[in-house]
């Protein structure tokens, strides 16, 4: 009997070894690299715990989202080229930012076409299927839901606009959070509403951005959560920055940091 279960385990492990990717290249994003390195450390901890070999292509900088969205497509094209070259050898590219992944997925093809360089168009075509947002990698590719995390706190989850409407992450982050030990996951009223970040919108239209933020903060505070979580630190910079300014006593945390807790 013990022999049979041993053989079964051996075969299953072998199957998993050959069908599940074993390596992932991390696209950290410039914002996380510079302002939120703890998110990057959490992603590495999490993926290595799940048995993946992580590498970090050092030539990477920024995906060009800010330039593209603010109307500087020409400048963004240079960054598309850079991204494609930095990750040319990557088997699989994972990033803990829904908006940067959406940038690559939605804007890179049109920027490549606009560059008039057929080689860049082809390189982007080859790149796209290999770029995954973190929760896509966990749920779809690795097939895990319970990553073995423990986080005994009350958490509200904000599905950022790019998670929700560009990448259509749907339930993925929530599925992962629900499986976290000890977590008290509470629903966020009006969750699908934008927090008001919007990149340079937060500065160019600061008053409107802050009006949107104050409604989001009210929703967060109403839940009594200690932590507001999301799959993108840019939106968390807005929500967390507002909460911090008010000394509200609520922490903003990337989903990866919760999933890496034990």
């Amino acid at each position: 009997m013990r022999d049979a279960s041993h053989r079964r385990r051996h075969v299953i492990r072998e199957i998993v070894r050959v069908i599940v990717p074993t390596r992932a290249s991390l696209f950290i994003t410039c914002l996380n690299d510079t302002l939120f390195p703890q998110t990057g450390r959490a992603v590495v901890t999490l993926l290595e715990r799940l048995g993946l070999a992580v590498d970090f292509p050092r030539e990477q900088t920024c995906c060009g989202q800010m330039h593209f969205n603010t109307g500087y497509a020409q400048e963004a094209i240079g960054l598309v080229r850079r991204f494609v070259e930095a990750f040319a050898d990557a088997e699989l590219i994972v990033s803990p930012s829904a908006s940067c992944v959406a940038m690559v997925r939605d804007a890179y093809p049109q920027l490549a076409r606009r560059s008039g360089d057929p080689a860049l168009v082809a390189a982007v075509d080859r790149l796209l299927p290999r770029v995954l947002e973190l929760t896509e990698l966990l749920i779809d590719t690795l097939g895990v839901q319970d990553v073995g995390a423990h986080f005994p706190h009350r958490v509200a989850y904000h599905p950022t606009c790019h998670s929700l409407r560009a990448l259509r992450l749907g339930e993925r982050p929530l599925t992962l959070l629900r499986a976290v030990g000890g977590i008290d996951l509470v629903p966020l009223p009006g969750a699908e509403q934008c927090c008001g970040f919007g990149g340079t919108f937060a500065v160019k239209n600061a008053d409107t951005s802050v009006a949107m933020l104050s409604d989001k903060m009210r929703a967060v505070l109403d839940t009594g959560a200690e932590v507001i979580a999301a799959a993108d630190n840019s939106c968390l910079m807005q929500i967390g920055g507002g909460l911090q300014r008010q000394r509200a006593g609520v922490r903003a945390m990337h989903v990866a940091e919760i999933l890496a807790s034990d």
């Binding site: 690299d33 900088t61 800010m66 409407r165 934008c194 990149g199 949107m212 910079m237 920055g241």
Partner: protein
């Protein structure tokens, strides 16, 4: 118009953002329409296919717009109508005023029409001594208040019923002194006022939701029945239609009449759909004039990315879901087309240089694209217009072009930093060293320059003592 006559969106928005009554009215109204729309849309299992069909039809119409318009003109003429072509708003207004003047009347009744708002027809008629009465309840409210519409569909969305009660008491001679803010009483007063106008008016003016090329039929969709009164009772009917409103065949209405009411008023079917073809002996107006209006539409058609703005069927679903519109209201957009669709349509129809801030009046959250019944990718057009804005330097204070734009210089400098790993890593180090004076208790609370707009209400995390890449190098030396 010189650029200075249009306040920038961020400046114009401040008034609305500070008006607590307006914020409350808008939040209440948009959320309630938004929820109702979501419910009636969810009833249709083939909603996504309907949207695809709507977009597909509009795409094809635009590719052959010239043919459809000529076919439409021929059919209207054959049915006894007269077709006029107007290159711009001024021409349109002149045509309409001449027709009214020829009737020797000084009063006309109007169906709510965005197109005639766009051309400022009422003001043009007033200059010729003609009083145009709006007969849509909300549009009447706006007219009585000497206000501007703030919503495509519910122009008085920024007013609540108490404000309307006060307005009726002040401006409608037949309003009783004890009028309450009970919606039913308010409507009764408006009805009594409008009934007299319907029975007396010799000329009616309408817009058009659709023009059917194969038969020359014009279609107006409405909720209150005032439109039907205006299009049937007067002896002369004038309809002003944007050239993009033509559809090839009756069958196309099958798609649009399913998409429009659910998206706009959250109704399965709108109460009144009026369709008429030319004139008919002994029934309805004996004279029918159709004005086909360009007014910048051919320029929109020429813009490969922006062209999709012409697919708009004026449902206003994008306004109702927009988090920016919900808080600023329509007036900040400084146009008859507010909200997300206005942010693209206004600069496309007129001059982008006069509306440089409108494409930026969005957080690109994508809620508008998700609800648009004809799948106009509004965020895509916004970004496209932003690109057009930056490719032309902003005017200086005296209106002269060609100034060097500090934002452009900053963006180019940042792009150069991102273009090289070494430059990027040294910029990280420099920021870490230089941020000292701005960091208090682990937070950046006050920044100079444009970034001060961020710290006006939000803290910012400081540049981390150890960037991720430095941590990586120290922990994964084999893969650094």
């Amino acid at each position: 118009m010189t650029p200075s006559e249009h306040p920038s969106f961020p400046v114009a928005a401040r008034t609305a953002l500070a008006d607590t009554q307006l914020r409350h009215n808008l939040a209440h109204a948009t959320h309630s329409i938004r929820d109702k729309r979501a419910a009636v849309v969810a009833e249709l299992p083939d909603w996504e296919q309907l949207r695809e069909a709507g977009r597909g039809l509009k795409e094809r119409v635009m590719r052959h717009l010239d043919d459809h318009l000529l076919e439409f003109e021929a059919a209207v003429t054959a049915a006894g109508g007269t077709v006029h072509w107007a290159r711009d708003g001024e021409a349109c207004n002149r045509i309409v005023a001449d027709i009214v003047a020829a009737q020797g009347v000084d009063e006309v009744v109007k169906v709510k029409s965005l197109t005639t708002e766009e051309t400022e027809l009422n003001q043009a008629l007033a200059r010729r001594g003609i009083r145009a009465w709006e007969t849509d309840l909300a549009q009447l409210i706006i007219q009585l208040a000497d206000d501007q519409p703030s919503h495509v569909l519910v122009p008085a969305i920024h007013k609540n019923r108490t404000q309307i009660r006060d307005l009726f008491r002040a401006r409608l001679p037949d309003a009783p002194a004890d009028l309450t803010d009970d919606p039913e009483r308010l409507v009764q007063v408006a009805r009594a006022h409008l009934r007299r106008l319907f029975l007396e008016a010799k000329v009616g003016i309408s817009g058009a939701n659709f023009g059917i090329a194969e038969t020359g039929t014009v279609c107006v969709v409405e909720s209150e029945g005032n439109g039907r009164m205006c299009t049937t009772l007067p002896e002369v009917l004038i309809s002003v239609m944007g050239i993009e409103k033509v559809v090839p065949a009756w069958q196309d209405l099958e798609v649009f009449l399913a998409l429009l009411p659910r998206s706009s008023t959250a109704e399965r079917m709108n109460p009144y759909t009026s369709l008429w073809t030319g004139v008919c002996d002994g029934d309805g107006p004996r004279e029918f004039h159709l004005v086909l209006l360009d007014n910048g539409r051919t320029n929109v058609l020429a813009d490969q990315v922006g062209r999709q703005a012409l697919y708009c069927i004026r449902c206003s679903a994008c306004l109702n879901v927009c988090p920016v519109y919900e808080r600023t209201g329509g007036h900040a957009y400084d146009s008859v087309y507010p909200g997300p669709i206005g942010a693209i349509l206004t600069p496309l129809l007129s001059d982008l240089r006069d509306h440089r801030s409108l494409p930026y009046a969005s957080s690109l959250c994508g809620a508008c694209y998700e609800v648009c019944p004809v799948k106009i990718n509004i965020p895509e057009v916004l970004v496209h217009l932003r690109d057009r804005v930056t490719s032309e330097p902003p005017p200086d204070r005296h209106g002269a072009r060609g100034r060097v734009d500090p934002e452009r210089l900053a963006m180019q400098a940042v792009a150069r930093v991102f273009a090289s790993r070494r430059a990027y890593e040294s910029a990280q180090r420099a920021a870490r060293r230089g941020q000292g004076p701005f960091v208090r208790n682990g937070s950046v609370r006050q920044l100079p320059g444009p970034l001060g707009a961020w710290t006006s209400a939000r803290d910012l995390p400081p540049v981390a003592p150890q960037s991720f890449r430095d941590w990586w190098r120290s922990t994964h030396p084999e893969n650094g």
